[in-house]
Symmetry: none
Subunit: 360 residues, 2 copies
C-alpha cells in the first residue's frame, strides 16, 4: 500500500486526502494547525501519523511551497514529492537554489485545475478532481519514477493528466485563470457603491462574471505575485483593448460626427470575445470542433428524454454535446443535440422518421 | 380576455408570448420575419392575428424600439404600449420627439432582467421571467392604467416588479449588466491566440467569467451605444483600478525593492471584489427555483445518457433542468440533474439502486 503524506490540509490537501483514502491509499495528514489536521481527519481525508512516505503532496499556500518541498525532500529521502501550487516556475526556481541534484530528481511540480472560490477543509470534496485536468510539470532532471508516481496519484483522484513544462503552464494560467480572477474582482468592486435598488437588478450575467470574486485575497495575492511576469503582458493587452472601448464610448457620447467607426469598435470587441469563447474545449477536451446541431421539440411528457436518446442510439449516432432548455410549466422544452457535421442529415432523418418535431 | 400584441419574436418576445399564453392571455405575434413568427407560434407563444390590442409589447432590437413604439401608439389608439429594450432613456427621449402627449401617456418603458447569451426564438422559454425582476420606468406623464397594465403583464409572466425612473435604470444597468458584458468579452478575447494546450487548462472559473462572451455583437453594440453616457464613467473607473493592478504587478516583476506595497494593492483589489460580490442578492434573486441537484458520473460508453434518463423516468421523477460537464481528455462526463428538493432523496436512491455513481 502506498503511503501518501499530505502537508497542508486546506481545500486541496483535504480533498486529495479524501480522494486517495477512498481509493485505498494510506494517507497521513500534516499541517501547522492541529485543528486543521483534526478537521481533515474527521472529514475522512486520512489519519494522523508520521511514517516514511512513498509520496509527499505539499498543499501549502504558494509562498511557502518551495521551502516545504525542500524540507520534505530532506526529511523523506526516498519519497517522490510534488506541490500543487497554481504557479510552477517560481517554485521550481527556488528549489533549484535550495536542494541538490539527487533530491531535485525526486520532485515534480503539479497543479490540479480544481477548486473554485471556496477555500479551507470545510469545502473539501472527495470528487473535487473528478473529470478535471491535473497538470504535471516535470523539469529536465525529474526522475521517471517521480513522474509516474504523481501521474498515478492524479488519476487515482479521478483527474486526467496533462504534461507540460512549468514555463508553459504559467503562461497558460495567466490567461485562463489569473486574468479572469482579476477581471471578476474589478467588475465586482463596482458593485460596492451602488444603491440597493441598482444591485437588485443583478441577473445571471453579472453573477457568472463575478462568481470567483468571492475568492480569498491572501491566497490570490500569492498566486498573482508568483506569476507576475506572465500576468503583466496579459493585463497590458486587456488595458489596451479597454482603452479602445472607452474611446469609442466617449466618441458616441460626443455625438454622431465624432462617432464614425465607434460602433464598429464595439461590435469588434464583442465579436473578438465570441471568437475567444468558442475556443473553450468541448466534449472531453477535444479541440472545439464545429458541431452541427439539431433542435428537437420535447413535449413535457414523461420519458421523452429517454425516448429521444434511445432513438438517437438506435440510429447509431454519437452525440458530441447536448443542451436542454427546460421550460418549467410550459408545454414544451427544447433539446439541442450537437453532432459532427457528417452525422447531421442521418440524425435529422432518423429523428423525423421516429416522429420528432425539429427546428433548425 | 386581454389581447396582447407582441411585436418582435426574438428571445424576449417569444418568451413573453409563451408565458402569457400559458396564463390565459390572448397573444398575437408579429415580426418582420414570417419564419420567426411561425417558429414562435409553433413554440406556443401565441397565434397569428391582427385584432385591436389592449397591450402592445415591443420586443425589437433597441435601435428601432422607439420608432416601433411610436408606430404602435398610432396604430393601436387605445392600447397601452411598452418596450423591453435594455436601455430606457434613449427610447423615451426619441419618443418625446415623435409622439404627442396623449399617446405618450399610454407608453411606459420597461425592462425584464432575463435572458442570457443565447438569442432568438429557439432559446425562448415560458419560465424565462420566473423569479426575475421586471423593471417599470414610468415617466412623469405615464397614465396610471398604463403602469397598471404592464405591471400585470410582468407579474403574470412570473416576475417581480420594481419601479424606477429611466435615468436611474440606465445608471444601474451600466454597472450590473453592461460592464460585465464588456469584461467578459475582453477576457475571452485573450483566449483567441492561445495554444490548444493552454486553452485545455480552462476550468470553471474562466468559463463563468466568459459565459456571456457568447453574446450577439450587433445587439450588444446597440445596447452599449444606447447607454454610452452611463457606461463611460464605469469603464473609466475600472481602467483606473486596472492601472493600479498593472503598476503593482510591474513592481513585483522588477524585484523586491520596487515592490513595497505592491502586494497590498493586489490584496485590496481582491478584497474590494469580495465586498462588491457580497452585495448581490441571495438565493431568491438567482435561479428561479431552489433546485436540488445530483451529480452523476457518466462513463463515456454509448447510450449512457439514454439509460440514465430511462432510470430517472422509471423512478417517476421529473427533471427540472440538467447540465452536462465535459472533462478535458477524461473518459467520464458529469451530468448534473436538477430536481425539486422533495425529489432529491428518491432520485438518489433510485439511481444508486440502478448502479449509477453519484457525487454530492
Amino acid at each position: 500500500m502506498t503511503t501518501v503524506r499530505v502537508v497542508g490540509t486546506g481545500l486541496l490537501g483535504t480533498s486529495i486526502g479524501m480522494a486517495l483514502s477512498a481509493k485505498g491509499f494510506r494517507v497521513q495528514l500534516h499541517d501547522t494547525s492541529p485543528t486543521s489536521v483534526a478537521l481533515a481527519r474527521d472529514l475522512g481525508a486520512g489519519e494522523v501519523g508520521d511514517d516514511p512516505a512513498d509520496v509527499v503532496v505539499v498543499a501549502t499556500p504558494p509562498d511557502v511551497a518551495a521551502s516545504v518541498v525542500a524540507q520534505q525532500l530532506r526529511d523523506q529521502p526516498d519519497a517522490v514529492v510534488t506541490d500543487v501550487a497554481s504557479v510552477k516556475q517560481t517554485v521550481l526556481e527556488e528549489l533549484r537554489e535550495a536542494v541538490g541534484g539527487d533530491a531535485l530528481a525526486r520532485y515534480v511540480g503539479s497543479h490540479p485545475m480544481a477548486g473554485r472560490e471556496r477555500s479551507g477543509a470545510v469545502a473539501a470534496r472527495a470528487d473535487l478532481f473528478e473529470g478535471r485536468t491535473w497538470v504535471l510539470c516535470p523539469h529536465e532532471t525529474t526522475a521517471d519514477r517521480a513522474r509516474a508516481s504523481i501521474d498515478e496519484i492524479a488519476r487515482a483522484a479521478g483527474a486526467s493528466v496533462v504534461t507540460m513544462p512549468a514555463a508553459e503552464h504559467d503562461l497558460a494560467v495567466a490567461a485562463v485563470s489569473h486574468l479572469p480572477q482579476v477581471a471578476a474582482s474589478l467588475v465586482a468592486a463596482r458593485l460596492r457603491d451602488l444603491p440597493d435598488d441598482a444591485v437588485g437588478l443583478a441577473g445571471p450575467g453579472v453573477r457568472d462574471v463575478t462568481r470567483i470574486a468571492a475568492s480569498d485575497p491572501l491566497l490570490w495575492t500569492q498566486i498573482l505575485a508568483g506569476n507576475a511576469a506572465n500576468l503583466l503582458p496579459v493585463l497590458d493587452a486587456v488595458a489596451d483593448d479597454l482603452d479602445r472601448v472607452r474611446s469609442a464610448v466617449r466618441a458616441i457620447c460626443e455625438g454622431e460626427n465624432a462617432a464614425t467607426g465607434a460602433r464598429g469598435v464595439l461590435a469588434q470587441t464583442i465579436a473578438d470575445g465570441q471568437t475567444g469563447h468558442a475556443r473553450l474545449p468541448g466534449k472531453h477536451g477535444a479541440p472545439p470542433t464545429a458541431y452541427a446541431s439539431v433542435i428537437v421539440v420535447l413535449p413535457d411528457r414523461p420519458r421523452q428524454l429517454a425516448q429521444l436518446f434511445a432513438d438517437v442510439g438506435d440510429a447509431g449516432i454519437n452525440l458530441e454535446d447536448l443542451r436542454i432548455e427546460h421550460a418549467v410549466g410550459a408545454q414544451v422544452g427544447l433539446a439541442e443535440l450537437m453532432v459532427l457535421p457528417a452525422a447531421l442529415e442521418p440524425l435529422q432523418e432518423a429523428l423525423t422518421a421516429a416522429g420528432w418535431r425539429l427546428h433548425s
